[in-house]
Amino acid sequence: MVAHVTTPFQSIAEIRANLDDGTYSCRELAESLISRIEEHDNDINAFITVTADDARSTADAQDVLIAKGQAGPLTGIPLAHKDIFCTEGVKTSAGSKMLDNFIAPYSATVVAKLKAAGCVTLGKTNLDEFAMGSSNENSYYGPVRNPWQTSHVPGGSSGGSAAAVAAGFCPVSTGTDTGGSIRQPASMCGVTGIKPTYGRVSRWGMIAFASSLDQAGVFARNAEDAAILLSAMTGADPRDSTCIDAPIADLTQELSTPLTGIRIGVPEQYLSELDAPMADLLTSALFEMEAGGAKLVDISLPHTRYAVPAYYVIAPAECSTNLSRYDGVRFGYRCEDPEDIEDLYKRSRSEAFGDEVKQRILVGTFTLSTGYYDAYYRKAQQIRRLIHQDFVAAFNSVDVIAAPTCPGPAFRLLEKISDSIAMYLQDIYTIPVNLAGLPGLSMPIGQIGEMPVGMQLIGQYLDEARLLGMAHQFQQRTDWHLATPTLQATGVSHG
């Protein structure tokens, strides 16, 4: 057991100051967090792989840089990557039996950028298989449990990354968001999470689910940390033709901008269906924004109710196409003793994909098949444009839109797993943002019972700095983001 050199819930700014003044070293910090993971992750299951040896050697290298006075903002900052980002030499499973044997031969652009920035990777976090799910119960490696109450889910699909930050295993982590997979678990775990504009961050080396929706983002304990980490992930990438051709962004530039005069749109459709406790917390958060000088404006997003139906055509269609690459030939799981090539394809896929993934592949294959394309896929893309136009119209009169992140707090494990539709509706407030490609942020605004809940801020294209600035200003006025769960020590080693 290594003595803890720090409280596990320090911000990047606090860690930076302590590393730079020698209060503790990168190595001591990494050892401290590895020890915490070993103590507690048997209960949480946030990690699929802990890369302790890599973390130690990287931390040592960062200590040398600090000693030379060459530290950057992220030198020595520990983090965890969602296990959907290829990491050279490390198992990259996407939460699937299909890739349980896959040691990535290269690193994703996101991983390479953060490594170059000096981050110390502690490991790869658990997720719903191929990022398909809203509770992290669809993982081949077992469900992640919510650090606030281990009987509850952490949300998904980036449940491991959200839980890791909430549990104090790392100050920041990466995630991906196709229909809410960063914002929903951020809300349920009481942390800050942001999905930037589609194309803001390179998708190269990020295992694909639905390519027109997938986007990488971050989890952090506060908006300032999220801004620092996300800034280092941005920038054009010649290897991803959908990555926006824009230079690396400084997303910290509006942290000190006051809320004064910012027009926040509040969509009537999003608030009218909420249960009272959730509506009350959202109303209180909006009053706090108003007290800080923001102006609340009623808006309408009339096609919201059609977002989930359209999404469950578009995402499965893209999923069925993307996941056709898993055929047992070039990488991933291969069945034993195939009789012929068809048997190889069919049994490899059937034995290695989980139920939800198979379900979505089947739905996607159906909606793209002859005779059904226009009724489903084309129709969904038309709805997608209407949803996009709703947002464009709203942003004519407001700067930012505020909404719930999800309908309520985290639910119990197994509560919704047998009801696909109930699970899909968890993402009703996040999916429209992905369909339009806008940036969205979730930040803690209170608790219902013992469980945290968040509010979503939706911005215009490339307006992440404003969202992060507003969240930072809110967090200067409130302390919900400082609340932390109490973990029970079990002393079981992660291995």
Binding site: N101, Y198, S241, R330, L344, L362, F366, R378, S420
Partner: protein
């Protein structure tokens, strides 16, 4: 629109997936519940609405037709279950 057993089995073949005989009815039920949800879209008049394939109608960015990657065949094939002489091995399908 509802799918039947024949459609589900055809789709499974197209998707290279097996559905166990005792799970076909359950699969039909689950697909139909999703299609019921999806069919809510039909209530929207989308006449003359242009489909949106990607956010903000992105146009594919082009680059110069130059070789930018090195040959890493051995490294990339190291994750395959069976290879020989730089080729992936699969069951024989041409006699």
């Amino acid at each position: 629109m509802a799918v039947n057993k024949e459609t589900v089995l055809t789709i499974a073949t197209l998707a290279h997936l097996e559905i166990a005989i005792d799970q076909v009815d359950d699969q039909i039920d689950r697909m139909n519940r999703i299609l019921d949800l999806v069919d809510e879209m039909q209530a929207v008049n989308t006449h003359e609405v242009r489909p949106l394939a990607t956010p903000f109608d992105q146009v594919q960015r082009l680059r110069a037709d130059e070789v930018t990657e090195s040959n890493q065949r051995e490294k990339l094939q190291s994750v395959a279950t069976r290879t020989s002489d730089g080729l992936y091995l699969v069951p024989r399908f041409v006699e």
